[in-house]
């Protein structure tokens, strides 16, 4: 006779399946929703011509939503500027932005929709290396140039598709080298002033790991003892434990392989709880998100926190300053509030603009060929020159730091750069 499970047990098994399924869904951060928005400026004398349609998928919801919405602002600000100036080749620009909910699966679907259903002329990249990799494969299969600003991990470029088609172009700083200004600075210090110990907690993300590995290799060679090196999943319940484990080692320096603000916030809060303040504290991502970072961690706690990047709101570049003032006029706040993602997105548009003008049209093959011709382009982030795999070999790496009790976001490295100010030690948590 077959034994039947009681009601409770049957439901327990069914619900377990649901829990595991939802867990997988949550891990993918897919809300399954999508929305589209478009922007086009007022009509002018070129209105009779059909607009240039550009499609992008962005993380407007999900784990990367703060970055995704900042990217959206950057794309839309660029489109508004271009259209106000008469468009490109006399044609207005029309953006179609779909929401991928931070899901690597949804981003593939979105680019298939944009290319095969919406038949957009051109594509811009999504946010994060995690999503750029699978998205670029769709663009590659369809012969599209894939200009992006937030997919700098080596894994994005070292794919069979890109090695064959060379269609991916990242206008921002390659992530693998982004910690080198810090490494070089520490190397320049007398041994007595260098940090003695360092911890390297990293999120399980293609963005976080490569620069940390290079930094570990270089700093260990300089005599900085590695006391903690672990990769952890970005689950809220685990960040506190991981941070506690780091604090227990009491290292002089923490280089956190973070991908967003919540990771930074969890570590900073756990450090504060443990009454542990690293003398040097750098997060790979999060502190560059302006007001989004300050509101989550508090201005005083932000003081002394560093982040690598290729742009900051005070960047001494006329185009950048113009974009900053336009951003503030449109969205409010102050320059310090601006997320670096805005500049990355804006730069994507600028590179595409120059490629269209130079090639005289929207032929993706010509655009790819042009961008690989060794030409140097200009953006709000500085110069852009692509190598054979599409990484920006002209990008300069900087380290920025929150100073003035979290009121100023300043460039501190490279130390010899005229725009750099003196680096400060991390101030105690909550101090003012």
């Amino acid at each position: 006779m077959r034994a039947t499970l009681p009601w409770f047990s049957r439901n327990a098994i069914a619900l377990s399946a649901v829990a595991l399924s939802v867990g997988v869904l949550a891990a993918c951060s897919s809300s399954g929703s999508s929305s589209s928005s478009s922007s086009s400026a007022s009509t002018n004398n070129s209105a009779s011509k059909t607009p240039i349609t550009i499609g992008a998928s962005l993380s407007l919801t999900g784990d990367f939503s703060a970055d995704g919405t900042a990217f959206q602002k950057g794309y839309e600000l660029w489109a508004k500027d271009v259209n106000a100036a008469g468009g490109i080749l006399g044609r207005q620009v029309k953006l179609t932005i779909l929401n991928d909910a931070s899901s690597p699966n949804q981003v593939v679907t979105n680019y298939q929709t944009l290319i095969n259903s919406d038949h957009v002329d051109l594509t811009f990249g999504p946010y994060s290396s995690l999503l750029t990799g699978p998205a670029s494969a769709v663009a590659s299969r369809n012969g599209y140039a894939f200009i992006e600003g937030a997919g700098g991990a080596p894994s994005v470029f070292q794919t069979p598709q890109n090695e064959a088609d060379h269609n991916v172009f990242d206008v921002s700083l390659p992530v693998a080298d982004q910690l080198m200004p810090l490494v070089n600075y520490i190397a320049s210090l007398p041994a007595s002033q260098r940090p003695k110990t360092a911890a390297y907690p990293m999120t399980d993300d293609p963005f976080a790991d490569p620069p940390e590995q290079l930094a570990i290799q270089k700093l260990t060679a300089l005599g900085v003892k590695n006391v903690y090196e672990k990769i952890y999943p970005e689950e809220p319940s685990q960040l506190t434990s991981a941070a506690g484990a780091v604090a227990a080692k009491n290292p002089d320096m923490v280089i956190l392989g973070s991908t967003d603000v919540p990771t930074m916030q969890s570590f900073m809060k756990a450090f504060e709880t443990a009454h542990y303040t690293p003398k040097w504290f750098l997060g790979e991502s999060g502190p560059d998100q302006g007001q989004a970072f300050i509101s989550a961690v508090g201005a005083n706690n932000a003081d002394g926190t560093m982040v690598p990047n290729g742009w900051y709101p005070g960047y001494n570049n006329p185009a950048s300053q113009k974009m900053v003032s336009e951003y503030v006029a449109q969205y409010g706040g102050s320059a310090a509030d601006i997320n670096a993602d805005v500049a990355e997105a804006y730069s994507v548009g600028q590179v595409m603009d120059q490629a269209i003008v130079a090639t005289g049209g929207l032929d993706n093959a010509k655009i790819i060929s042009y961008l690989h011709s060794g030409v140097t382009l200009t953006t709000v982030q500085g110069q852009v020159k692509f190598d054979s795999l599409g990484e920006n070999s002209a990008a300069a790496a900087f380290i920025f730091q929150w100073q003035g009790n979290g009121t100023k976001f300043v460039q501190v490295l490279p130390a010899g750069d005229k725009a750099s100010v003196a680096i400060i030690q991390k101030s105690p948590w909550g101090s003012s």
């Binding site: 499970l5 009681p6 409770f8 047990s9 439901n11 327990a12 098994i13 619900l15 377990s16 649901v18 829990a19 595991l20 939802v22 867990g23 869904l25 949550a26 951060s29 809300s31 929703s33 407007l60 919801t61 999900g62 784990d63 939503s65 703060a66 995704g68 919405t69 931070s102 399980d204 672990k230 990769i231 952890y232 999943p233 689950e235 809220p236 319940s237 685990q238 506190t240 434990s241 991981a242 506690g244 484990a245 227990a248 967003d260 603000v261 919540p262 916030q265 969890s266 809060k269 504060e272 709880t273 443990a274 009454h275 007001q291 989004a292 509101s295 989550a296 961690v297 508090g298 948590w429």
Partner: protein, 292 residues
């Protein structure tokens, strides 16, 4: 290493208390109504945003603010039941609630995005960063308060279900709906109020979560799978079981993180499967609310 492990255990117990606060409403709703409330995670975030708004806009202490947010969430719960749940009937009701509550989650998430944007927020009350030093370990007051609140809620809900006339009518309704109607119980009202209570207690979980973690409208999706796992492990419908399972699961995960962080999620769910193989009814395998 001993210090790291003891830290992990303390973290696990205290964070487990926060997860219990978020899970008790879920287990109550499932145990009593057979509803798998996928919107629970988003409702936690709604509770967090309500506390955040009262704290930042009206400078109301987050614990005092529960006097506002708990009734508000009760109304939200009753409204969700009235608008979406009460119409579901028949043998497919339980599975249909999955879809319906997922839709509710998307609606609430969309509204929260519209109001608060995508940036992360946190409730920064003065005591959220204050600590007490016990046996060489610093513990945040907010976690201690949260843990006490979790125990108080468990005791309160237990008393409500097993020591009140309303609790008897709830259990009678679930044991035999027809018989309950025959003895004069307003079954629809009982279901709506129970759903409302389940959502109301989530306000407390949301408040503590928002005071300990940066959150935005999407943060609820990181929570729901864990909350489901916790109530299954604790024994569905067992309110005390939710507390025990939350503490066990989060402590286990926290200790594993000391050595192998990347394995901690796998261990979390492996523990769930293993326990269900040995004890199909979960840790606290009583047939919970309806069987007593």
């Amino acid at each position: 290493m001993a210090r790291e492990i003891s830290l992990a255990v303390v973290d696990g117990i205290l964070i487990g208390g926060v997860y219990a606060l978020m899970a008790v409403g879920l287990t109550l709703i499932f145990g009593v109504l057979d509803i798998i409330n996928i919107a629970q995670g988003v409702l936690v975030i709604l509770g967090a945003y309500l506390s955040y708004s009262l704290f930042t806009a009206a400078h109301i202490d987050v614990f005092v603010g529960l006097l506002v947010t708990v009734p508000a969430m009760f109304i939200v719960g009753v409204a969700i039941h009235w608008a979406f749940i009460r119409r579901l009937r028949g043998t497919e009701r339980t599975s249909m609630t999955l879809l319906v509550t997922y839709a509710v989650a998307l609606i609430i998430e969309g509204v929260l995005y519209k109001i608060y944007g995508a940036n992360y927020d946190q409730i920064n009350a003065s005591y959220t960063n204050s600590t007490v030093h016990i046996f060489g370990i610093y513990i945040e007051y907010i976690y201690i308060y949260g843990f006490i609140l979790a125990i108080a809620l468990v005791v309160g809900l237990y008393a409500l279900l097993y020591r009140t006339r309303f609790g008897r009518s709830v259990r009678a309704t679930m044991q035999d709906e027809t018989a309950a109607r025959l003895v004069g119980i307003d079954v629809n009202r009982v279901a709506a109020v129970t759903f409302g209570i389940g959502i109301a207690v989530t306000a407390a979980g949301g408040m503590v979560y928002g005071a300990t973690t940066a959150f935005n409208a999407n943060s609820g999706y990181d929570l729901i799978s864990r909350l489901l796992a916790i109530i299954i492990l604790g024994g569905m419908g067992s309110i005390g079981g939710a507390l025990g399972a939350a503490v066990f699961m989060i402590t286990l995960e926290s200790v594993v993180t000391v050595w192998y962080p990347t394995w901690s999620v796998a261990v979390f769910y492996a523990a769930l499967v293993l326990v269900l193989v040995i004890r199909p009814n979960g840790f606290f395998g009583q047939r919970a609310v309806r069987a007593q």
